[in-house]
Symmetry: C2
Subunit: 373 residues, 2 copies
């Protein structure tokens, strides 16, 4: 593995964390470099271009802690082309089958990032749409699944009366018989149209897409015809290439990305903060620390920073910490993340039952008043 | 969680393995049941239908070993509808984010399995296409990526001269500039047409699909126009719903499913043997024990048995153990799996270099002669 470094900005520089004993780590690292590139014995490759340019190269190995190594591998940008599915195949593909290897980070070729081009709307547009100049945004979720469309629409109206900016479908809402997508869009947009906001900007409904690519196109068109300009999708379930395809086909639509099926083997700042953003997520939902999931504060901070930071000129993607958040954490979360954020409280608002409007009003008032207290 | 059991055959009975201390397991199990269904505090759900039918129910908890529990949860079939993407969302979705929960198995509603309907071709058709009455099938892989189409075609011709049944693309071959899909199909089908098999049945080329759903449709049509009747796809990269969509749209095409991005958090017999088969995989590639990956013999045996067994009347899906196999393991693998199998040797044949035809002939002769020795 003594070939020359490649031209800067053209290779994928991929960082894996590998649990391994110290004697075996060099061999493991080489095996990963081969698995994620040519997938065959290098001795059997005679072509000089392949040996120097296509075979993955171990760039560095460092011990992070006892038995845990950070391995950097350089892969050729040509192996990805411009295909988001092939990107994740090259980054982790077969290596994902190993229980002791984690995909930690990746630097990507300039051209690749420019090709995908990131959010078409991003933080500033999502603020503008709801008349929020510079404050944090608010969001809630319609659930539980099993409710008919009319009941979900009632909840949406009450959340809107409480001044919420965005109301998204729970990610369990698909196109089920008890609440089909089209019926949901019709009932909820009608309900929201009846609620005036002091800002003059209506609460936005964010329906969740499901099914195959063509189903999702039909759903977006139903939503768009009803005046909706934001939808939610799950890149790990629909596939990276299909997610990015919708981003390209519907440039007027903003996309919330949901983390379902993201697993625990790819670092959340990379997967949710960097890759989802690069493919076009305008906002990314993730499980906040101290909720129902195990992400640490440091993971959440890095994820949010990655989604927002100056990177290849992409628009900032709105971090949406969620997953069991409550009103009593609003101040703490804003202190922690700052105001370039969307706070999503679902179940803890719905628990208010008959006081849903009041609970929502208290939530939105606190977010709107933050920093002016 | 004291409601009545649901009607047999209508619920998803899902088995998770959870690393947890004994004092917390009941609460963890309830939390998973809620996360994978209504995703909100059950106390806030007043509707009786939802409480009894839609909220997930903990059916059983058993300690497997110290600190490892098997948890059975019943989910309503209505929550899935007929959407393969929603199926995996309900089975594992948000729970996949927990590093200490593994999806071990699932019994699925009869109607769901009947809807998806499994392989359209399966073992017997894949044998018939290559004139193999009852023996194991043989396969090799075209690689490494980076080679131009003409070089891959040369390899394909030599593998065919050695009598191989199926030649698949390496899963790293996408639609890259150095070997675009259309050029590959043209060169390889031309090369294979020039090699007569003693059986009278030509070696089948199995190109790998990549990109979004529409890209894959175009690729299938290019392949079909060239006389190809088998393709390879990666359900975890393209998404379950899009994979199943292609199976429905192209009933004349047989599909090999590749495990890339399958991760290590879903039991391979369930994911590769049961779910991929149900969605229509005619053959499923998986890493054999004792190769480059960590699957145990027991995992491989269960995976192959699950792909083949009588189950809801589906056709058998061909198990394809792979991932670093060599000729000297042929007898052992056939003893282990029996002959309802396809043996895939890639790199270890290509290593033969100038003796590729001879190495392939020795491989195919051993498989064909097995049991007649």
């Amino acid at each position: 593995m003594d070939d020359e470094p490649r031209k800067p900005g053209t290779s994928l520089d991929v960082v894996y964390h590998v649990r391994c004993d110290a004697r075996s780590i060099e061999e493991r690292a080489r095996a990963i470099a081969i698995e994620q590139s040519v997938e065959m014995p290098v001795t059997a490759i005679t072509d000089e271009f392949l040996r120097s340019q296509i075979v993955g190269r171990v760039a560095a190995i460092a011990e992070k802690s006892s038995g845990l190594f950070e391995v950097r591998i350089a892969l050729a940008g040509e192996t990805v082309g411009r295909d988001p599915g092939q990107l994740i195949n090259m980054l982790f593909g077969n290596t994902s089958l190993h229980a002791d290897v984690f995909l930690h980070d990746a630097e990507l070729p300039d051209e690749l990032v420019a090709t995908f081009a990131g959010p078409r709307h991003g933080l500033h547009a999502l603020r503008r749409r709801v008349g929020a100049a510079s404050r944090a945004l608010t969001c809630s979720a319609l659930k539980p699944q099993g409710l008919p469309a009319a009941k979900l629409a009632e909840l949406a109206a009450r959340l809107a009366e409480g001044g919420i900016d965005y109301v998204k479908d729970d990610h369990g809402l698909a196109d089920q018989a008890y609440s089909p997508f089209a019926a949901r869009v019709e009932a909820i947009t009608a309900a929201l149209a009846g609620v005036a906001q002091p800002s003059g900007h209506a609460t936005r409904y964010v329906p969740s897409l499901s099914g195959d690519l063509d189903d999702m196109r039909r759903q977006i068109e139903i939503a768009r015809d009803a005046g909706i300009d934001t939808v939610m999708a799950a890149p790990m379930i629909m596939g990276f290439a299909n997610f990015h395809r919708l981003v390209r086909e519907y440039p007027g639509i903003a996309f919330f990305a949901h983390p379902t099926m993201a697993g625990a083997a790819i670092a959340p700042p990379l997967l949710l903060g960097k890759l989802f953003r690069m493919l076009g997520a305008d906002a990314v939902i993730f499980p906040n620390y101290g909720g129902r999931f195990g992400y640490s504060p440091e993971t959440c901070r890095r994820l949010a920073a990655t989604a927002l930071k100056d990177w290849h000129g992409l628009r900032p993607c709105v971090p949406v910490p969620a997953g069991g958040m409550t009103r009593d954490r609003v101040g703490e979360m804003l202190d922690f993340y700052g105001v370039d954020i969307m706070l999503l409280i679902g179940g803890a608002l719905l628990e208010a039952g008959a006081q849903l409007v009041e609970a929502t009003s208290a939530f939105t008032a606190e977010v709107q008043g933050y920093g002016h207290g």
